[in-house]
């Protein structure tokens, strides 16, 4: 019989299709793994309501686990996903990949708050500026480093 630990380890192999360097476990979107008799339920939560990767992730989980165990994937919205659930390992992998991991931010509803200081993932300089609040996917914003001039994605903080 498979164990929960085994399933969690297996799930490490599934990456987010939009950020292939992160596993769905690193990203914190796998919420619960429960095992009963010979079947397994994996509960996942979306990063954003309209995240187009959810269906692919669901299919990937079924494809990976179903040869071993009867698998069902369930979706939950509550509690709502937050970037706080991203693992330290995940943050390091993001940085190495060239995406700045989420920084602690002030309340988003504050108008014209000083933009969060996001260090450049290439040269580590804090001398960067926000180009756009929105980026290449729902979970990212767009920044540029003013030292090495590299434009980069920032995985925006969601609380």
């Amino acid at each position: 019989m498979v164990t929960e630990k085994y399933i969690w380890e297996q799930l490490e192999q599934i990456s987010d299709p939009e950020i292939p360097v992160l596993s769905i476990v690193d990203l914190g979107i796998v919420r619960i793994v429960s095992i009963s008799d010979d079947s397994c339920i994996v509960t996942i939560t979306p990063t954003y309501s309209g995240c187009p990767a959810m269906n692919v992730i669901q299919e990937d989980i079924i494809k990976l686990l179903s040869p071993t165990v009867n698998t069902k994937v369930e979706m939950t919205l509550s509690p709502a996903w937050t970037t706080d659930w991203m693992s330290e390992n995940g943050r390091n992998k993001l940085r190495e990949y060239g995406i700045a991991p989420p920084e602690h931010e002030v309340d988003k509803s504050v108008l014209f708050a000083k933009p969060t200081v996001v260090p450049c993932p290439k040269c580590k300089s804090s001398h960067t500026k926000m180009i756009s609040q929105f980026g290449s996917t729902a979970c990212k914003a767009h920044y540029q480093c003013l030292e090495c001039l590299e434009p980069f994605d920032y995985f925006k903080c969601l609380k």
């Binding site: 995240c51 309340d107 988003k108 609040q133 609380k159």
Partner: protein
């Protein structure tokens, strides 16, 4: 009207608002004034359509007649959509789109804040999720209203015109009928009259900052919540529904 019917209509209305605005915003795809804003508007559209997806899923499960959400989104007739008239208005230009978005975001944030305490856990879950996205949208639209209003002579003129034209659709944000009364009584939905003052003061604060004025004309347009739409709506539907009408039951 049973509670179940009222709750169903209530959820569908919330979903219709975000579906139609999402559809409108997606028309900007490839036409944004700058690349960053092209991406921003379509990102917001994606969030809104994602919220619609969750709301319609809840609606069909409440109704329990075996409908799927594509039928709700794409196969209803014009009068069966009960979105706010504000969200179906044309994009016109970037400033106009931003003002429309701003009026909606302020309202939608207040709705979701209150719905986090809905007695229906599923709806509270959707609200909690959507609220985070809505706050970000509101920050984006508010900052642009200020930048454009307090910008050049031309940007100021254009957003002021947008405010003047769109103002007549703002009373409808606080429309209530039997559907609302039913869900408010049971704590399922929110009493939007509770936050009218907050909406007014938030909007006034940002418009003042933007050197814009609130028009004094008091005439207001309504009908969306009863399925009576403005002339733009039919054109929007014909484009949005084309695939399902031409190829019934098609799936991606």
């Amino acid at each position: 009207m049973t509670t179940q019917e009222a709750f169903y209509s209530y959820i569908v209305r919330l979903g219709d608002d975000s579906l139609i605005l999402g559809q409108r915003l997606s028309e900007w795809c490839g036409h944004g004034p700058v690349l960053e804003e092209d991406i921003a508007l379509t990102n917001i559209a994606l969030d809104l359509i994602g919220q619609t997806n969750n709301l319609y899923e809840l609606a069909v499960s409440i109704e329990n007649k075996g409908k799927n959400i594509d039928q709700l989104a794409f196969l209803r007739l014009e009068k069966e959509y009960e979105n706010l008239l504000l969200v179906e208005q044309l994009n016109v230009d970037f400033g106009y789109t931003i003002v429309r978005q701003f009026f909606f975001d302020v309202y939608r944030k207040l709705v979701f804040e209150a719905l986090c305490n809905s007695s229906d856990e599923r709806l509270a879950g959707i609200a909690e999720k959507s609220l985070k996205e809505t706050k970000y949208h509101l920050k984006h639209s508010s900052e642009w209203v200020i930048r454009l209003g307090d910008g050049t002579e031309e940007s100021h003129r254009r957003v002021q015109e947008a405010v003047n034209t769109l103002w007549k659709f703002t009373d409808e944000l606080f429309f209530q009928d039997e559907v609302d009364q039913n869900v408010i009584e049971l704590g399922l939905g929110v009493d939007n009259s509770n936050f009218k003052v907050t909406w007014d003061s938030h909007v006034e604060h940002v418009l003042t900052e933007a050197t814009l004025t609130i028009p004094s004309n008091s005439w207001q347009h309504a009908g969306g919540r009863k399925g009576i739409h403005t002339e733009h709506f039919g054109y929007l539907l014909s484009e949005m529904q084309y695939m399902q009408r031409a190829y019934p039951n098609m799936e991606w």
